[in-house]
């Protein structure tokens, strides 16, 4: 029983229904109840490459998804002004460095190529982004990549798209009705959700996808939110939709994240428009000032007339996650579980991880549910903590001191101890699998390397271990990245050209 029908609800419904072959194999039913009046929040337009696996798992066609969700390809993020607040930038691409795990790339980089940004030496992908290339060709099959990629999508279209697939193809029962009351069993489990028009609707497991209201886990069970505002200050956002200047304007194949005085601006290229938003700390900046900064940014990218016509939509949130994610027979997914600022687009990735684990570990009996719940809570507390560590890293490494916001971010009271320990460790070694040893880490050690070295963090020169053959091996991988880059630039269409092509032609399944 899934309560709530945004991206989280329909992703969870889709994964569970597809994995368990509903309705072909009897024994399990998936019902989704959603209120007719609640409009989805529509944040989280960036995704991780895991979304390709999730969509394939659900059984949707990539071509349909791209056409119907205004989706575009995303190959990573470009961070501007985060380090010094000037014109500097660095890339966090989705492709791992060439030879990652095979050679120590960091020491040879610093010794021989220190003038080249780390990501641009070890990966072909930043150049593909700079040149506005698509991550694949017209002949590349659905979900296959030439260069690792995810999507930018219109969250307002994504939910309805998944809904159509779930109800028409996956046998998910859809009830559009208000939930008026939650009914409890004697043992404290949820017995039913009571709706205005359909009466009691019963389930064995309730998945709370009710967004910020967290109707079941937060309101019914009273599970408190662990606030992460002491570490991540941002609690407000202003979002606008910006039209392209021309029908053939380039579409960036990466998220552009620009640091500001008390927050940062996201800039996401969809097919038909850009999604731009300013996320900031209300304790450090007024809405009026935040809006002015957003308008200035949009004006620089388009023109004053377009920027003046925009009316920003305000969002407020309490950054944090629920202390327990799975309580008795209720598990929360998406905003109902928690939310932090959209830096690094972890929101939908966490939804995918949650849906996958619920589906993979779906308890066969009520007695087993407590065991599964304990595992789930352990796994997701860990994931939330790591996501917050990784986001905080971006602030911790900044050298900006142009506002109290940036200085306070680096104050020791605002830094989680595990992250401080890791940073100390990374003065003498590179982030590696020893630091992130779980099977499905939300952010792999390579991501930490891209951010660390992209933001100017430099290890002590003497300490990193380096075997005899390493220098030559690393150089081979640097050359490999450069060669791949040249051949890909010659073969890949622009992001815009491929997206236009997909309006007329389908990607093949094989």
């Amino acid at each position: 029983m899934i309560v709530g029908g945004g991206s989280a609800g329909w992703l969870a419904a889709g994964v569970i229904a597809a994995d368990h072959q509903i309705p072909r194999v009897p024994g399990l039913e998936v019902t989704l109840v959603e209120s007719p009046a609640v409009s989805p929040i529509g944040v989280g337009e960036g995704t991780w490459p895991s979304m390709r696996d999730t969509l394939r798992r659900i059984g949707v066609s990539e071509t349909d998804f791209i056409r119907e969700c205004d989706a575009a390809f995303k190959q990573g993020s470009r961070f501007a002004g985060w380090t010094d607040g000037g014109g500097e930038h660095y890339y966090h691409p989705f492709s791992l460095p060439q030879g990652y795990g095979e050679a120590n790339l960091v020491m040879p980089w610093l010794r021989e190529h220190a003038a080249v940004p780390y990501a641009e030496l070890v990966s072909f992908q930043p150049q593909l982004c700079e040149r506005g290339r698509a991550p694949k060709q017209v002949t590349t099959p659905e979900y296959a990549a030439v260069a690792n990629y995810a999507y930018h999508l219109d969250a307002g279209k994504f939910g309805p798209f998944l809904q159509r697939h779930c109800t028409a193809r996956l046998g998910v029962r859809h009830i559009v009705d208000h939930v008026t009351r939650i009914e409890s069993s004697d043992n404290g489990d949820i017995a039913a959700v009571v709706t205005a028009g359909h009466g009691r609707v019963e389930g064995d497991l309730y998945v709370d996808c009710t967004g910020f209201s967290s109707l079941l886990l937060g309101q019914h069970y009273g599970v408190p939110l662990i606030s992460v505002q002491p570490q991540l200050f941002n609690d407000s956002a202003l979002a606008v939709q910006v039209p392209y200047a021309a029908a053939d304007a380039p579409i960036a194949s990466h998220t552009i994240s620009t640091a500001c005085e008390a927050g940062w601006i996201w800039d996401i290229g969809l097919q038909t428009r850009r999604g731009v938003g300013h996320v900031y700390s209300s304790a450090h900046m007024s809405d009026t000032e935040a809006e002015r900064i957003l308008r200035d940014y949009v004006t620089a990218g388009t023109d004053a007339k377009t920027a003046a016509a925009l009316s920003p939509r305000k969002l407020s949130f309490r950054p944090g996650y629920r202390q327990t994610l799975w309580q008795r027979n209720c598990v929360a997914v998406g905003l109902a579980a928690g939310f932090v600022e959209p830096l690094e687009a972890s929101a939908l990735a966490l939804v995918e991880f949650s849906a996958a684990m619920i589906s993979d570990q779906l308890p066969a009996t009520r007695a087993l549910m407590d065991t599964v719940a304990a595992r789930f809570n352990d796994a997701f507390r860990y994931r939330w903590e790591r996501a917050i560590d990784f986001l905080k890293l971006h602030y911790l490494l900044s050298r900006r001191s142009d506002s109290p916001y940036w200085r306070e971010h680096r104050a020791s009271a605002a830094v989680q101890s595990r992250l401080a320990e890791l940073l100390e460790l990374w003065r003498y070694q590179s982030p590696s699998r020893y630091d992130f040893h779980r099977i499905e880490e939300i952010f792999p050690s390579a991501s930490y390397q891209y951010v660390l070295y992209g933001m100017g963090f430099r290890p002590e020169a003497r300490a990193l271990p380096e075997p005899v053959q390493n220098a030559a091996l690393a150089q081979r991988y640097f050359d490999e990245a450069a060669t791949l880059c040249r051949s890909m630039l010659a073969a890949l269409p622009t992001n815009r050209a491929l997206l236009n092509h997909l309006q007329s032609y389908r990607l093949q399944r094989v």
Partner: protein, 239 residues
């Protein structure tokens, strides 16, 4: 290279077309486009495989003649050594051009075009295109009907390929062939129908394919793969 013009019986009145099959006339092709309507004839001589067009990414079925670009193992001193030649080869140097010009009350009609730079175009030898007083020759009538089949076949191909893909029947393959002369060729970038999945189709899927008219061409593709052996033997006889 190519000079495509609409065919007309005034300017092209005395045009003749050489029908001899040889490399000099551009027959040294590794493969040629085919359409489901002629699969039955094509599979009697050649393997039918699929390839993605590099411009659209869409699958097109091909009759395979050799293992590498420029190699047509059916082309001999005496001409084309097979009982059937695919219509996409037979119809050259003619093609369907543009939508034509819409007349009052009538939609645009596909029109026959000719590539005047094709080496088959002659004024002295070969088959006459037009009769003495401007009527179409039997040769042109035959070409015209082939072009019609090809044109319709291209539309049918899309639906056929979609049906195969909908059932996950297409798969890529790589064929490494060691030849008697010690050389070897690798055939890559082509796709075929997975026979095991065809055999595993349930009744509903089979009857849907039958209703769409795709069951026969699908089996023709499966049957055509026996000609890989023939292709290898032809290659070995050559070296």
């Amino acid at each position: 290279m190519a000079r495509h013009v609409p065919l007309n019986n005034i300017e092209h009145k005395s045009l003749r077309i050489v029908t001899t099959r040889s490399a000099a006339y551009g027959d040294d092709q590794m493969f040629a486009l085919t359409v489901p309507a002629e699969f039955r004839s094509v599979q009697s001589c050649y393997p039918i495989v699929f390839q993605k067009r590099s411009d659209t990414g869409q699958f097109q079925p091909l009759a395979l003649f050799g293992f590498q670009p420029g190699e047509n193992l059916f082309l001999t001193e005496a001409g084309w050594d097979a009982t059937y030649v695919p219509i996409s080869v037979e119809r050259l140097p003619f093609l369907i051009g543009g939508p034509g010009v819409a007349q009052a009350g009538q939609p645009a009609q596909p029109m026959i075009h000719i590539d005047l730079d094709n080496p088959r175009v002659s004024s002295t030898e070969g088959e006459a295109v037009f009769l003495e007083y401007g009527g179409s020759s039997p040769f042109l009538e035959r070409i015209s009907s082939m072009l019609g089949s090809l044109h319709e076949g291209l539309a049918a191909t899309t639906a056929f390929v979609d049906a195969l893909q909908g059932l996950d029947l297409l798969e890529s393959f790589v064929l490494d062939v060691g030849h008697k002369d010690g050389s070897s060729s690798r055939l890559a970038g082509f796709y075929t129908v997975n026979e095991e999945r065809v055999r595993a189709l349930d009744g509903a899927a089979v009857s849907k394919l039958q209703a769409q008219g795709f069951l026969e061409p699908m089996y023709m593709v499966v049957a055509s793969t026996v000609h890989f052996r023939d292709l290898i033997e032809r290659r070995n006889r050559r070296s």
